[in-house]
Each structure stands twice: as C-alpha cells, then as structure tokens.
C-alpha cells in the first residue's frame, strides 16, 4: 500500500478519472486549473470544495402550515389533500436534486450523498421526511459513520419505512434491526436470530411525531436487560449500534461497498481489506475516501472507464455538459423511469443493484437514443407503467403508445463556452473515458466533422459513453 506517488504530478487522464468517480465529470476549465498539480494537492482540493454543506429544500408552505396547527385527525379532508400535494412535491424535489448534482461545486459531497442514499435506503411519500432525510445524508456524507448510523436510525423516514414506529415493548418489530445489520452495517451472516430479537427490544419506543421529529416513547421502550453478541446489558439503540460497529465485519462490509461503487464491479479482497483497516480506525468516511483516492491502484489503467454509469449519473453528466431542462418536468421523470432509476423511488430497502443490472435491451436502447432525444429533437417510444396508486384511467392514460418528441430547452452556449476551444480529438477524449473499440474509432474518424454539437451528440450516443 505504498503512497509513493502522492508527490508526483497527477496526469490529466487521472484527474478526469478521479472526477468521474468522485464527482460527475470535470470541465475543461477545471481540468486546466488542476493540471500540473501533485496528486496530494488535487485530492486536497477535491475535499476542500466539499467541506461546506449546502442543503436542498424546496418550499412547501401549505404542508408546513398544516403540521404546525393540525393533525390528520383534526382535519382529515385537508390532510388527504396534502398527501397529494406531498407526492407532487416529491417530484419537484427529484428534479431539484438532479439540478443540484449537475451544478454544485461540492461535487464529492453530492456524489457521496447519492451513494449513501442507495445504502441507507428509504422511500417515503412524505416530502417533509424526505427533505429531512436528504439533509442528514448530505450532512454526514463525509462524516463519522457511527454518528451517521445513529442519525439515520432516528430519521422519521427510516422509522416509518422499516416499521420501527410499530416496534413496542409488548410487541417488538424486528424489521429495522434486521436491515440495520444485514444491509446497513454487517452484511448477511455475523449475527443470529437471537441477536435480532434482542436488539429489536433496544429500539422499542423509537418513533417520530407527525411533525417529523424523533421521539423516544418511554412507555413503549424496553429498559430491561438484553443479550447481544454475547454481551449482557440494559442496552438502548445507541449501545446496539456501538456493539455492531465493534465487529470487524462492519468496516469490511462498508469498504467493499465503497470499492464496488467507486472503483470496480469486481471485488479485490486485498484492496477492500486496505480500505477496511483505514475505515475501522475511527469510522471516518472522509479518511477512507481520502485514502482511496490517494492509492496508486485507484488510477490503474484497467480501472479507468470500466464502470457502467447509473441512469442518474448519466443524466447528471449529460446535464453538466449541455445544461437542459424540460418544459414539462414530468417528462424528466418518465425518462428516469425508462432508464430504470427514478431518484427517491428505490425498488426496495436493498436499493438499486448497480453495474450490469442497469442494462437490458430496453434501457440500453433508451440510453443510446437519449442524447438525440434531448439535444437533437429526436423521438422516443415514450411510455411508462402507471403507478400502483393510479386509477385505471390514469394508469392507462400513461400508456398511449406513440413516438413522442419531448420539449427540451438546451443551453448550447454553455457547451460552447466550456468545450468550444477543443478540437474534435480533444472533445472525444473529454467525453469518452474508455478505450474505444477499433472499428468504432474508425467509424468516428470517417464522420464528417463539421459541427461540434452534432459530434458531441454522436459521442454521447456510443455504448462507450455509458462507461465512466
């Protein structure tokens, strides 16, 4: 695990690679600024720009007013109305989040927030809970993992998603602790059914108010003795989390997840072990990520341009290159659905499975068509399933089958400003990280290159562009 090259100058392909994985790509201007700097310095700057935390809130005045003065019981009619408002606000929030990822300078923090959102997975129809949850993800994205887990365990979105609201002394509900161990900290294996039963008792009475604040309901909390991992004590939820974090499996589990997400789909046990040692020291996410980006192997030739972009990654990168927006925001959600990832709507508590799981014949065709649809007024077979809650009419309204042209506003000026000075060859190297198939390369050469916009869209329509 030598860090001998920390003082050497980071090649520009490596800076690009770093920003592909730790952020959402890099602009030529920024690359120029970082060129010639030592690796240590480049990594330092990456972290420095993410030191600040800029939260993301959208206005929800009606809902805010209601929760201050009313409850579902006091005004059920208004409440039902606001459930609908909340669902529509979540769609706005989806778009606002994507916008943020596409424009923020806190790139690493945004990338980590997205990563943790697919680790501590929740799904909620409550916009208040959702925004709160997002703020917690962003706050701890590079923080201390212990504090993070405790904060997550107290989030109303999590408490309601995994039924801890129903976890009571006389009738424990094991859903939360089961996922806490299996999906959030340890992975399958290092615990028994008895550990689950006992630890569920420690979280009894952990709930939330209607307003969305954590509350310990003492009457429902089991203050008695529990035996967990062979240790006895009158444990509460925090104690259980501490005992879990004492297990070496925890750092190993998180390190593996980080490796698979940030480095390569194929696990490498030695490197994962390296990360786990660093992480376990004091569970600093900042430290383990810094370590990762300082290793030599992160920049190995066969690591670059090998990962399949998630749909959100793809959309954010497209947006960073050529800013775009939809006349009807709903259309952007449809695109996400067609690609197989709607932000804030994970399939289940295990989250989206990444890598090749993003790809099937249909999502692949959408990916290849997408740039021309967004930027060249192309058409797309544009139908998606209705939602479970939809009535029959709504469900089917979404199913009228025709090739639709979306109304997209694109900002080519920004593109020209950022990329205009590049020649075609340079543009190619900017947008494509992987080594291109020889035949494809020849084909690209043969293209008449008279228009940079067109060439850019052609590059984005390659299978190669799907990799980062």
């Amino acid at each position: 695990m030598s860090l001998t090259t920390k003082d050497s100058i980071l090649k520009s392909t490596h800076i690009k690679h770093l920003y592909q994985r730790a952020g959402f790509g890099i602009s030529p201007k920024k690359l120029e600024k970082l060129s010639g700097l030592k690796k240590k310095e480049v990594v330092k700057q990456l972290f420095k720009s993410s030191k600040s935390i800029t939260h993301l809130y959208i206005p929800t005045p009606d809902i805010d007013a209601f929760i201050q003065t009313d409850t579902p019981k006091s005004n059920p009619k208004k409440f039902r109305e606001l459930i609908k408002v909340s669902r529509s606000k979540l769609k706005d929030y989806n778009l606002a989040w994507i916008d943020k990822m596409a424009t923020s300078n806190e790139e690493l923090r945004e990338r980590m927030t997205l990563f943790w959102a697919n680790h501590f997975v929740v799904r909620t129809n409550n916009i208040v809970f959702s925004q709160r949850y997002n703020a917690t993800l962003r706050k701890y994205a590079l923080g201390n993992f212990r504090d993070f887990v405790i904060a997550i365990a107290k989030e109303p979105a999590m408490l309601s998603y995994l039924n801890n609201q129903q976890n009571r002394k006389d009738k424990p509900n094991e859903n939360f602790v089961r996922e806490l161990m299996e999906l959030f900290t340890l992975g399958i294996g290092p615990y028994t059914e008895k550990d689950i039963k006992e630890s569920a008792r420690a979280f009894t009475g952990w709930g939330h108010t209607f307003k969305g604040e954590f509350v310990l309901r003492k009457k429902q909390h089991d203050f008695g003795e529990k035996e967990f991992f062979g240790v006895k004590g009158n444990f509460n939820g925090e104690d259980i989390i501490d005992l879990i974090l004492k297990r070496p499996e925890c750092a190993q589990f998180i390190a593996k997840k980080i490796y698979l997400h940030f480095v390569n789909d194929v696990p490498n046990e030695d490197r994962i072990g390296e990360l786990a040692i660093v992480f376990r020291e004091n569970y600093s996410i900042d430290a383990v990520m810094r370590y990762l980006f300082m290793t030599n192997w992160f920049y190995d030739e066969d690591m670059i341009g090998q990962k399949i972009k998630s749909p959100i990654d793809l959309l954010v990168q497209l947006k960073r290159t050529i800013p775009f927006s939809f006349k009807k925001p709903k259309e952007f959600l449809y695109i996400q659905r067609l690609l197989g990832q709607v932000l804030l709507e994970p399939p289940n508590v295990a989250g989206w499975s990444e890598g090749k799981n993003w790809i099937d014949s249909n999502t692949m065709m959408v990916r290849l068509k997408l740039p021309s649809v967004l930027f060249m007024n192309g058409t797309i077979a544009f139908d998606v399933k209705g939602e479970f809650e939809d009535s029959f009419e709504d469900f089917n309204k979404k199913k009228s089958n025709f090739n639709r042209r979306l109304t997209v506003t694109k900002n080519w000026e920004v593109f020209h400003e950022n990329y205009g000075h590049l020649n075609y060859e340079e543009l190619y190297h900017y947008l494509i990280s992987t080594t291109t198939n020889k035949g494809t390369q020849e084909f690209l050469h043969s293209l008449k290159k008279t228009n940079k916009q067109e060439f850019c869209v052609q590059l984005m329509s390659l299978p190669e562009y799907q990799l980062c």
């Binding site: 014949s361 139908d383 089958n401």
Partner: protein, 395 residues
C-alpha cells in the same frame, strides 16, 4: 453456472456470458425444450379477492363490510357459499367450461403490504426477508431459453420478473416501433464496425452484446409478426391491446415462452365498488377474447394463463368505502389441461386471521411456480427457485 453461484453473483461478471463469438450467441436457434407458453397477468395494486369471489353466506364477511359487501343477488353464484363478482360473466363461462382453476389463500410467510416490496417478492420468488436481483422468469431465461427473446413483457420497461442477471427478457408492446428504434442508422454503423474482440472487454463487451441482442430480437419479432394481425375483436382498452399483442406474438410462431403484462388500478382504498366493477369487467372481457382467439388457432392447449395480484385486501373495509392492503389472495390459472378445474382448495372461512386482520396464506405462491416450471415447462424447479418447493399437480 450453478444456481447458487448465480444467485450470489447475479450482477457481477459472469464468464459464461462472454462466448467467443457473439454472432453464434444470438444467430443460432437455441434449444427450446417445450413449445408451451405461459402468460402471466398481474392485477396491479392489489385486487380485492373477497369481492371477486364473494362468500355470500358468510356473516363475518357482511359484518366487516357494511357498505361494500355484495349479496347473493349481486353475484354470479357458483356454489352454495360463493359467487363471482357480477362483472365476471365471461370469465364465469370459462370457469363453467372447466378452463379455470381458482387457487385460494395464496401468499407467503411474513407478508409485505408494500406494493413495491410484495411485487418484488412475487417477481423474484424470494422469501419476505430475502432480496434477489433476478426474477424467476429471468432465471428461466438464463438457465433454459438462453436468449432475451424467450420472454416478452408487453410494456416499454422491463420488470424485475424478466431480469435474469446474464440474460434479460425484452419489453415491447409494439413490434414495429421497437424495430424502428433499433434500426437507427447510426447504431447500424457502429455495430457494423463492431469486432468480436470487443467482447474481451468486461462491461463494454456486455453493452455491445446487449445492443446486438436487442437489434436481432427486434428484427425477429418484427419479421414474424408483421404478416399477421388478429381479426378477433378485443375490448378497446390498454389491457385488451396487450392481450391482442400477446396473441399475435404467440400465433406468429415466435419462440417466446413467457409473456407478462399488467393491468393496473386495483389499489381501491376509496369507493371501491365502482372502480373494481369496471376493472374486473376489463379483465373478464379481455380474457374471454384472448381465450377465444387462442382456441380458434389451436394454441390454447399449449397456453397457461396465470393471474395474480401482489396482495389481497383487508377483510375489514375502511371509512372511505374501500379496502386497505391485505395479505393472502387467490390466483387464477386458465388453460385446457388443468388437473383441478374449479376450486383447487376451499376459500378461507374468515375465522382465523392474522394480527392485522388479514387472510392467512395456505398455499405458498412458489409452489405454484414450481408446478408450472416442472409440470408445464418440464424444467427442474430447483434450478430456478431458491429453496425447495413441492409441486401441486396443477397442470
């Protein structure tokens, strides 16, 4: 690839995928062990089984549903205790003719009441606490059909049901549109230049192979189906169109064995009577046209239609004249070769419920899958399902 490894590694690299010549992988006709078809229909949102097959003499039923219960005079009586919903006239004719098996009280241990999660469970054939990344049909593709064309979802996005890790099914409800999409001149140029050496590249090879597969499957579907169009009248709604498409696909001689479509709108939390009435009518009329068409061409004997919902609904109605998410529910099997036409087992007597007041399951849905896989598709269920599930002798 061993099923166990495959379940563990799904999502990771599979060496079996990268055969040296991709051309062979899709060009040659795979071995199809059986020409049998399964059509899977999901009543999405959670159909209320208790108002679909009404226990019109059961006091408990009436006590719990004071405004939405159906009386004997409202239903299509099939025996001295039960009757089908009034909208199911055509469906009842099929039932009377012995083409329907009703399997009651189907579910799984620790049922989830989330649409998403429970749909996942039904699609992946997992247990309640188990998260699989592939669907059971997808695994059948990976194990048996070995090609995307083995299963088609009549929609524009692919459900987890159809994903097999190394091989995924296809989603299309318009063969010519799908074909046109893949026929884009630009893609054609790129694929023309494509070399087999590309396949040595881990993820990039997979992406290229997926495009090649999509293109070839789209062409096959289009070529086979464009000459034929059904003259049978289907109800003029989305579900009717989906069934018509499935019929045309089957009839064109496509090698596809599994079809999947969903009919949405069953999440009847409020004013259930009207909406369910309309929905079941759409279902019943659509199915009747579909079966009539299949019979006309002789394809019905080789087709089984499975209808399920991700869950049933609560016995006790809510204040909004609707019902909330429940647990166990019935499954319909339609076909000419049923071993148990009529009631496979008795509907629940509503005396014993779970702690939420929901129906308890008696038949694990995976036993139904196991039966269809073994008895209909003539494949060993243990290679598709995780865990051992006995077959029920259904077909």
């Amino acid at each position: 690839m061993k099923r166990r490894d495959f379940l563990k590694n799904s999502g990771l690299a599979s060496t079996a995928l990268f055969v040296p010549s991709f051309v062979q992988a899709y060009g040659a006709t795979g071995v199809i062990p059986s020409h049998k078809k399964i059509v899977i229909l999901q009543l999405s949102g959670g159909n209320d089984g208790l108002n679909t097959l009404v226990p019109y003499t059961n006091d408990i039923y009436f006590k719990n549903r004071n405004t939405i219960a159906r009386n004997k005079k409202d239903v299509l009586v099939i025996n001295d205790s039960h009757g089908f919903h009034e909208s199911l006239t055509d469906f009842k004719s099929l039932y009377d003719a012995g083409f329907v098996s009703v399997i009651n009280n189907v579910g799984y241990p620790n049922p989830s009441r989330s649409h998403f999660r429970s749909t996942d469970i039904w699609h992946t054939a997992s247990g309640s606490g188990e998260y699989l990344q592939t669907g059971w049909v997808g695994r059948y593709l990976a194990e048996v059909s070995k090609k995307p064309l083995g299963a088609i979802e009549v929609d524009d996005t692919l459900s987890l049901l159809m994903k097999g890790g190394s091989i995924n099914g296809l989603a299309t409800k318009d063969a010519s549109l799908f074909y046109k999409t893949t026929k884009d001149a630009y893609f054609g140029k790129i694929l023309d230049k494509y070399t087999a050496s590309h396949l040595s590249e881990h993820n990039l090879g997979y992406l290229y192979k997926t495009v090649v597969d999509a293109k070839s499957s789209a062409a096959q579907i289009y070529e086979k189906t464009r000459v034929y169009s059904s003259s049978q009248e289907y109800p003029n709604n989305a579900f009717g169109k989906q069934l018509k498409t499935i019929f045309e696909f089957i009839n064109s001689g496509l090698e596809t064995q599994v079809y999947y479509a969903s009919l949405g709108g069953f999440d009847t939390h409020a004013n259930q009577l009207n909406s369910q009435k309309r929905l079941l009518e759409v279902y019943s009329k659509g199915i009747a046209a579909f079966v009539k068409d299949l019979k006309r061409t002789g394809a019905f004997k080789d087709t089984i239609i499975l209808t399920f919902s991700e869950f049933g609904r609560r016995l006790k109605q809510n204040a909004a004249k609707g019902t909330d998410h429940g647990a166990a529910n019935m499954v319909f099997l339609l076909g000419e070769n049923l071993k148990h036409p009529g009631m496979y087992n008795k509907p629940d007597d509503l005396v014993n419920l779970d702690s939420n007041g929901d129906l308890l399951y008696e038949v694990d849905f995976r036993n139904i899958y196991a039966s269809l896989i073994k008895e209909w598709l003539e494949t060993e269920p243990s290679s598709i399902l995780s865990g051992k599930f006995k077959t029920l002798g259904l077909v």
